[in-house]
């Protein structure tokens, strides 16, 4: 079985401050981890993924995520938030040849 948890329904941060969106996962094998972003009335857009290798993964729009095997986490980070980063963020996990399992989503609000 595989599952992913996003413990925060919403994250609020001031523009220019660093942001973190949390994600923890549970899989039986080596995980493949993904972050997607959804803007209003749009489909999900791929941000970044971890398959293997360096634990720090860099993605689109200045986002990065750190894979931590001991804590089974894959938190999304950005050093300096923009108002335009405000959106719904989804973490997803799979392993083997299984389809992705998505988390419940975290709404990020960046205040000017």
């Amino acid at each position: 079985a595989q599952s992913v948890a996003q413990p925060e329904d919403q994250v609020n941060v001031a523009e220019g401050n660093p942001l973190t969106v949390k994600c923890t996962y549970s899989v039986s094998g080596n995980p493949y981890l993904f972050w997607y972003v959804q803007y209003p009335n749009r489909g999900l857009q791929f941000l970044l993924k971890y398959i293997t290798g360096d634990n720090l993964v860099k993605g689109s729009y200045g986002f990065e995520a750190e894979f931590n095997k001991s804590q089974t986490s894959f938190h999304l980070k950005k050093p300096s938030a923009l108002v335009s980063d405000s959106a719904l963020y989804f973490c997803a996990v799979s392993w083997g040849r299984r389809a992705l399992t998505f988390g419940s989503g975290t709404r990020l609000q960046v205040q000017p």
Binding site: F46, S94, W95, A99, F102
Partner: protein, 118 residues
């Protein structure tokens, strides 16, 4: 640039009517997914195909939902008869899976079909 397209973008129908949603995956992609998104349930996987063959449709209510891929450029999701609880945004996504042991790489999502059943 290559995109997943979905039609219609919005659909309002009455309970009991048949609804058909269409998806054109990105050319060359061999895997197609159908998801449903609601406020209460979040993002749910309904079904997915690889090389046009259904791999898993366990997330789909079998009595009223059906998913098919008549050809590599078209995937359909049908609801018959529709019910108010089917109101949601339905997303199609496509991806390319290579090799016998590879996992699913990034999926490319369409804009969704917003379905309202009155």
């Amino acid at each position: 640039d290559a995109r997943v397209t979905q039609t219609p973008r919005d659909k309002v129908t009455e309970m009991g009517q048949e609804v058909t949603m269409r998806c054109q995956p990105i050319l060359g992609h061999n895997t197609v997914f159908w998801y449903r998104q609601t406020m209460m349930q979040g993002l749910e996987l309904l079904a997915y195909f690889r090389n046009r063959a259904p791999l898993d449709d366990s997330g789909m209510p079998k009595d009223r939902f059906s998913a098919e891929m008549p050809d590599a450029t078209l995937a359909t999701l049908k609801i018959q008869p529709s019910e108010p609880r089917d109101s949601a945004v339905y997303f199609c996504a496509s991806g390319l899976v290579l090799g016998s042991t590879s996992s699913y790489n990034e999926q490319f999502f369409g804009p969704g079909t917003r379905l309202t059943v009155l």
